[in-house]
Symmetry: C2
Amino acid sequence: MNELRKDYLIDRWVIIADERAKRPHDFKTEDVQDNKDKCFFCPGKEHMTPPEISRIEEDSKWILRVIPNKFPAVSPCGVPEIKTDNTFYTYANAYGRHEIVIETNEHGKELEDLSKEHIKKILETFILRISELMKDPEIDYVSVFKNKGKGAGASIAHCHSQIIAYNSVPATIKYELEASYKYYVLNKKCAFCDIISREKNSDRRVFETRHTVAFTPYASRFPFEIWLFPKRHISGIGELDGDELLEFADSLKRILSKLKDIGNTPYNILFHSTTDYFGNYHFHVEILPRLTTWAGFELETGTIINPVSPEDAAKFYRGEL
Amino acid sequence: MNELRKDYLIDRWVIIADERAKRPHDFKTEDVQDNKDKCFFCPGKEHMTPPEISRIEEDSKWILRVIPNKFPAVSPCGVPEIKTDNTFYTYANAYGRHEIVIETNEHGKELEDLSKEHIKKILETFILRISELMKDPEIDYVSVFKNKGKGAGASIAHCHSQIIAYNSVPATIKYELEASYKYYVLNKKCAFCDIISREKNSDRRVFETRHTVAFTPYASRFPFEIWLFPKRHISGIGELDGDELLEFADSLKRILSKLKDIGNTPYNILFHSTTDYFGNYHFHVEILPRLTTWAGFELETGTIINPVSPEDAAKFYRGEL
C-alpha cells in the first residue's frame, strides 16, 4: 500500500508509490503515449479503462468521462491518520482517490482548442468531483491539475486532467493559508484581493475581464508563468456562478491559446482551490509552462532561477513582444 | 541586473535571471553540448572561457580549473540587502558569484570515472572556494552542486560542478537548521547524528565505512535518492580532515559507480554544507537521480510522488536487487 511520509526534520512530504514495483532498468525514458490506435482515452476503448465514475454526453455520445486512475498514487484503504514515532518517522497510508478527467473524445485536441462552453463543462466536472470527494472525512485536500506534454510530466497525450484527493493539507496550500490569514488579521482584508488590485495595474498585468484578472506573478518560478483569478473573493472554484464560470473558462482558453505561440509548450495547470472550511483563501489557477529544468541549485536551495522576467512574460501575453 | 524576489506571501524565492533576455522562441529544447571539438571546457579552449580563478596542475598540465560562469545567475554588484515594501514585494539584487569547477581535462569522463585521489582534489577545491567566497560579508550561503545530464538540468556534458554564492540563506537549509536546532534544544544531541545511527541499521542502509555512512532517506523524493554523511559531527565540508576527505571521495565514487548500473542516469549532487557560524548542522551530500518529472501534483501541493521505495533503492545499492 502506498505510503505518505514526512522528511526526518522538515515539512516536506512524499508519497512512496511503489505498487507498480519498478525495477532499476524500468526507467528508460518513455515518450508520451500519443498513438491514437492505442489510446485508452479514445471512444471505443471504454472497456479498457477502470469502471467509469461519470460522463457528460451530447447527441448520445460522451464528450467527457471521469475514470479512476489505473495506477493511483493514493487509494481508499489503509489507515489514513498520520502517525509519528515522535523522533524522525511520520507517516500514514496514502489514503484517497486518484481520478482522471478525459476532457474530450477527440484525440489530438488540446484544452485551448475546445469551446469555452466545453471548458465550462470541464470546470463543472471538477466542482462536482471536489464536492463528492470532500464528503469523505478522511480527505483533507482535493488537488486538481493538468500535465500537458512530456516536459510537464504527462505520460498520455489525449487531453486530460487529474484529481488527487488525499489525507493531507499540502504544504504549499498550508503556507498560503497561513500567510493570507496573518495578512487578514493585520489588514482585515484578503491578501489575494489586494494582490489582484495591485497587479492588475502593474507591469505584470495581462488582461482584465468583467469577472477575471490575469497577471504574471512577481516571483514567477517559470518562464511565462501566469495566474488567473476570479475578481470575486471566493475560496474555492465551486463558488463560481454560471456567468463567472463561463468567463473563467474563456480566460483560461485565451491564456493557453496565446501560450501556443511559443510552440508546443509543455505546461501544468494547478487549481488552487479550497473549500469553505479553510476560510480566508482566494481561488486561483496557476499556469506553469515547463521550458526549464530545475537543477541542482533549485533542489538544494529552494531558490528557483527563472530566465524570463514576469514583466517580459506579461509583454508577451499582451502581444507586445 | 538579476533580481532576487520573494513570493507575495510565502517563503519562496526566485532569481529573475533575464540578463540573457530570452525571447519566447528561444526556448526550443536544446540538447546537452557534448561535441568535444566545440567544448569550451576542454584543454586548448582556455581562451574561450572567462578569466580563470584557479587551477590544479599535474605534469605541467591542468587537471582541474575554476572559472566564472559565463552566464551567471548572480553577480558581485548592485544592492545585496533585501528590501521590502512591507506589503507584497520583497527583493534584492541577486548578488554573489557564480563559478564553474571543470573537474577533469578529459572530455567524456564522469565523476565516477576519476580516481578517489582526483575526487578528493575536487572536494578540496570546493572547500577553498567556499572559504574564499564566504569572506564577502554580503554572502549568506555558498551552494555547491552538480548537474549531470539533460534531465538534471545540465547544458554542457564535460564533467563539471557549479558554485553559487549568494545573498540569502536558502529556505531548504534554513528549515533544516531550524528543525535541527529545535531537536538539539529538546534532546541535547545533533538530529543528524541520531538519524545516522538509526538509518545505518535500518532497511535503508547502504554502506558504512570508517568515516562515512550512506543510506536512502526515509522520505526520498526521487527514485534511488541516496545521502552520504561523514560520521563525525561537522557542519561544513571544510572541517573534513585529509583521511576523511579521501574516504568521502571514495564513498561518493562508490555510489555513483553503482548508479551507473541503471544506465546513463541524469543526476544532481547537492552539498549541504554550512560554515561554523550556522552552528548546529551536519554536513552531508544528497545524490538525486532524475528519472522522474515533477508534474502538476508536485508543483501544486509540494507532496512528491516517488515510484521507488527507499527500501527497494537501498536493496539496489546493496546489490540485492
